[in-house]
Subunit: 82 residues, 2 copies
């Protein structure tokens, strides 16, 4: 069966996010002053062929840990859709 | 009240995603052959001060349309958390 994994990779909360800060300021210059705390990360969508959802989650986790995220600067979250 | 908007910006389905394709091939070289169709976009989290959720959604939408996404190559989706 084919599952779809949605992975979010975000800069750690404790770290500065210069890209987010730049976007925050640009949004203010467009008069969108209600917006604060912009943080920018990656959204990765992939298909996984697997017998069950737990196994699909484990494959997505392995992909994150072996390649997709940088443990020093980022955290990840995974959701699996059937 | 402060709402949190989660925005996903992804390359349009009809378009090639060279970054996703490169990651797909690299995951295969790590023996993760169950993974296919990798697509990579942005995940943006921001706080919005607003009276109600509908207004917060509209502010996030305005930020997307004025700045965050490129209509020629990308699509966006917004979810608002209280």
């Amino acid at each position: 069966m084919i599952y779809t994994a949605h992975i979010n990779i975000m800069p750690l909360t404790e770290l500065l996010d210069p890209q987010g800060k730049a976007v925050n300021e640009s949004l203010h210059s467009l008069q969108l002053h209600a917006i604060q705390n912009v943080r920018i990360g990656k959204h990765i969508v992939l298909s996984i062929e697997s017998d069950n959802e737990e196994n699909a989650y484990n494959i997505a986790k392995e992909a994150c840990e072996k390649m997709l995220y940088n443990a020093v600067m980022e955290k990840y979250s995974i959701t699996i859709d059937a």
